[in-house]
């Protein structure tokens, strides 16, 4: 049985929160450059240039690229032969988030209660999903998920007869309805199948995959590609002001589902697609 300490998790989470907010991933940066070479709108190009400059400033000055430093969302792959010692795993993640956000001068966006709306003051609690896997290590995937794009995310229980065309139509509808609000160019995360809650989780999980990487399953990879083409023909463009770059990428994850069901969830991510991964133990 391998051991990972509470303190090790706190320290690593603390660093991930800051790195995610200061350093735009190389995958997103490369996607901006690619978009700059294909974007057909002058205003769209100007916006993309501003986003590149913004990312450079954030890295150089160690300041957040966006003022919405997000909800800290974690997917934890916990090896079943790995033991967390010195305290509770979720407490360790929350302590790391609190320390990381305070030390990094990141914004506290979490409130205790959706109705009384009082700020918790340290951006906790994080949203933590734990998957039990083979092995003796623990891998933490973290994203700082902005509120604007999350607000425009949608889920629908389609009918099995709606099929592939129904899925495409629904995704395009969600992206079109979001328009400028979700801060395009977007990363579009899609869950297909599972049940009501599994489907939305799959959509979120798909957003952790790096931009430019296609799904291992050929049918899904093809659907990702086709949706990417269709979305970029909507004309929405950078910041919704018109253009040919509406999505930087489309990601799909699927799972088994009931004979009566075809659940589809669309979790939109803004261009500040911030994710970090660390493996301990």
């Amino acid at each position: 049985m391998n051991e990972v300490t509470y303190e090790e998790i706190v320290r690593n989470v603390q660093e991930m929160c800051q790195k995610a907010n200061f350093d735009l991933g190389e995958d997103v940066y490369a996607a901006f450059q690619e978009a700059l070479s294909t974007e057909t709108s002058d205003t769209g190009k100007e916006i993309l240039n501003q986003l590149v400059e913004n990312a450079d400033i954030a890295t150089q000055d160690r300041v957040p690229m966006c003022q919405d430093t997000g909800t800290a969302v974690f997917i934890v792959e916990l090896g079943q032969d790995c033991r967390i010692v010195g305290g509770n795993l979720i407490d360790a993640i929350n302590e790391g988030v609190a320390k990381g956000y305070q030390e990094g001068y990141l914004r506290n966006s979490m409130i205790y209660d959706p109705l009384n709306r009082k700020n918790t003051g340290d951006n906790t609690p994080a949203v933590v999903h734990i998957e039990l896997v083979e092995g003796n290590s623990v891998t933490l995937h973290m994203t700082a998920k902005g509120g604007g794009a999350e607000n425009m995310s949608r889920m629908k229980m389609l009918k099995p007869s709606d099929g592939l065309e129904g899925i495409k139509k629904y995704v395009l509808h969600v992206v079109e309805e979001a328009g400028p609000n979700a801060c395009p160019p977007l990363v579009v995360g899609i869950g297909v199948g599972g049940n009501f809650e599994r489907c939305t989780y799959l959509a979120k999980k798909s957003l952790f995959r790096p931009i430019g990487e296609r799904h291992a399953d050929e049918t899904i990879a093809q659907l990702e590609f086709e949706l990417m083409e269709d979305i970029n023909r909507l004309g929405i463009g950078p910041q919704g002001m018109g253009g040919s770059t509406t999505a930087l990428d489309v990601k799909i994850e699927s799972a088994a589902c009931h004979i009566a069901a075809l659940p589809v969830a669309v979790n939109l991510n803004c261009h500040a697609s911030r994710h970090q991964t660390v493996t301990l133990g």
């Binding site: 501003q50 919405d68 709306r117 400028p180």
Partner: protein
């Protein structure tokens, strides 16, 4: 073409602006987002004066990150404007001339923009580190208890925006998207 405008806005400035114009703003703006709007409208409904004079002013929808030592303000990009839609027509009636944010406004706000001769600007969402470089000073004016959502007075210099909704009913989101959607359809044959 890029225009430069000194704030507060004059009637002439607003008349000269068309949806799609790229503009550099300099001068004073006030920050307010969800909680500050709610409180201003509650005060107004109770017959109390607002904490800031709105005539000819511009409100920027932003909740900045905390300033690091030595910084004027933290990262400060626009938040989604539609959450303020419920409160905006009343503020325009009270003299507000301009808003900076991102995303769609509802029909009631677009109508109030035309009726009151106002303008809605879009800043680049997610370009918060870049934008904060055009903010030269920041002072909390009201609602300090709201933290990031307090009303601040900012002095800005060459702050880049695009006119989204003008006083003539123009809307860059509708016009821009339909132009490029058409172009994409033609390319596909």
């Amino acid at each position: 073409m890029q225009k430069s405008i000194q704030l507060p806005l004059t009637k002439k400035d607003v008349q000269s602006l068309k949806a799609g114009d790229r503009v550099l703003l300099s001068g004073t703006v006030y920050t307010a987002r969800d909680a500050a709007h709610k409180r201003m409208i509650e005060q107004d409904q109770a017959g109390e004066p607002l904490p800031i004079e709105l005539t000819d002013q511009v409100i920027y929808y932003v909740g900045p990150t905390p300033a690091k030592p030595g910084q004027v303000i933290g990262s400060a990009g626009p938040t989604t404007s539609e959450r303020m839609d419920l409160y905006t027509p009343r503020l325009l009636e009270k003299g507000l001339k301009g808003m900076i944010g991102k995303g769609h406004r509802n029909d009631a706000v677009k109508k109030a923009i035309v009726e009151n001769g106002a303008v809605y600007f879009g800043a680049v969402g997610g370009a918060a580190a870049l934008i904060s470089r055009s903010i030269k000073s920041s002072e909390v004016m009201a609602y300090a208890d709201l933290g990031t959502e307090a009303i601040r007075r900012l002095e800005i210099e060459n702050f880049p925006v695009v006119v989204i909704n003008d006083m003539y009913g123009g809307d860059v989101y509708e016009e821009g998207v339909s132009t490029f959607k058409k172009e994409a359809a033609e390319d596909q044959g």
